[in-house]
Amino acid sequence: MQAGGRTLDSPNLPATTAALLEALQLLLPRPDSRRLLEAMLLEDDQQAEALRNVAADPDHGLQAGTRSAGAKGLRPLLHHAIATRGWPCDPAVLTVLRTARAREQARMETVARVAQPALQALQDAGVEFALVNGVALAGTVYPDAALRHCHDIDMLMRPEALPAAIAAVERAGFVECTPDDSRPVPAARRVHASGLPLELHVTLLPEPYYSLPVSEVLARTSAHAIWGRTVRTLAPEDQLLHILGLAACTPQRETLRWVCDAHALIRSGQGIEWEQFVRSTVRARLTVPVSILATFLAEAMRLPIPRATLDCLREHATAASPLARDIALAGARAGQDDNFALVHSIRSGWAARAMALWWLVWPSRAYLRHTAQASHGARALSYARGLVRRLLHRPSRILSGQGVAP
């Protein structure tokens, strides 16, 4: 059992911890996605080998590898990798990748133009905020902003700044809009006439359990020039925590952007304070998923994350509470079609599978309180009903352990 090449089944790990860490491998990219990421992000000979492997894959290939809904946004980055390396590529594939990049370049110019009045209005109103996520990363850590697809503008601020911020962006022409059910709910969402959404957040992450005081985060921000305007963005270690935290608890990780973002950030040379990163991760109670994700980045994506950081995260993850465990498992299931994917992802044996099944059906009381669920009985009954229904519909897939979509 491995996380990006790192053996997890250490004899020192208790069976429950080993089972938990194995179940959480579900957070990581699937093998075909992993090959694509290696082709885009590895360096030198490793990248050449990865590109060769992807290009030779008859089922996926360079173009087909980005055909999934989530991975489409990665085409500019794939073009960047191929062009930088001078990789010989089918002209038809190159045209597709260039079109994706040209589209993103042209689109980013529009995003910049649309965002300017909102940024100006917020600064005029004296609202303290930080640009976070896509636009902040595109503007500060990617070699070309168009390599990072952004579907909205995200800003983080203190709760008490929210009313003034809403008023400011509305003055800048952003209007109220209906919520987007496919994404975590921000504190406020407004949309520009062009269709570009702007999301105002008062917490770093949508999962309330993973909390870090916003005032502390804002105090560590630094000023950057983005689109010719000076704006504040998160400290690199907070950026990384935000990237991994979103991957840990939202279906957005299926876009694979979290890997590219973390790669761009760590390779950007901004200087991550790793001790601060660990302190914040522990404080935000994110050590369980972040331990898995950071180990993947270090081992599979060859990113220079200090061994001491990984060991420290693993140590904290091993001592995680049942509530931390259950929330990490719930995060891993976010966006999964198959409720039992956690169980099916375990390959080391029936004991570990049984443990994962137990956590799924019978989580801790603290988790039930956290999610305001009625009782263990109701939850178990709900799962049992679902399982029976699926057995009746597709018994062969259930019995073969392939799982089923609801």
Binding site: L94, T95, R113, V114, D180, A193, L196
Partner: protein, 163 residues
């Protein structure tokens, strides 16, 4: 020939042509990447690849040069007689107009000259123009659309879908 086919433009009669054109900015976005002009019609999801001398021709026409001026610049760049270059340019223009990518603009003020690659003249590469329609979903991925210019088409529309 269009669709997924290839159109190789051929010779015609050289002539003086003082017409200027502009890109249909509301619907069309374009970039030249690695010597290939990528032109996207956001309104219908079609995209076009222009390679050979046509990529440079696109840049010259996009910058507001007259057809004759553009042909002159191409002759400085490529080892080809003016009449061949001019004929190819005329055919390319006709196609661009037919596809709704450019329109004639008599009032167009030329912008600064695009930076074509410097150095000695190179062998002439005939323009290859291809049209594709297989990426409409990607081109319509997320708002705002490239080229958005305060056109409030979304004012009365429902909340945009984000991915």
């Amino acid at each position: 020939m269009f669709g997924n086919g290839v159109l190789i433009l051929t010779m015609g009669e050289p002539m003086t042509d003082a017409r200027r054109f502009r890109v249909n900015m509301g619907d069309v976005a374009a970039k030249v990447i690695d010597g290939e002009a990528i032109v996207m019609n956001i309104s219908n999801g079609a995209y076009y690849s222009i390679t050979g001398a046509g990529a440079a021709a696109w840049e010259l026409l996009e910058s507001g040069q007259t057809v004759t001026e553009a042909a002159g610049r191409l002759v400085e760049r490529y080892e080809a007689p003016l009449e061949i270059v001019m004929a190819d340019l005329q055919t390319l223009l006709a196609t661009l107009v037919e596809e709704g990518l450019m329109t004639e603009a008599a009032d167009r003020v030329p912008e600064s000259d695009p930076d074509l690659p410097a150095g000695p003249r190179v062998a002439y590469e005939a323009t290859v123009f291809q049209k594709f329609t297989d990426m409409a979903d990607m081109l319509a991925l997320d708002p705002p659309m490239p080229g958005f210019d305060e056109t409030p088409w979304a004012t009365d529309s429902p909340a945009p879908k984000t991915g």
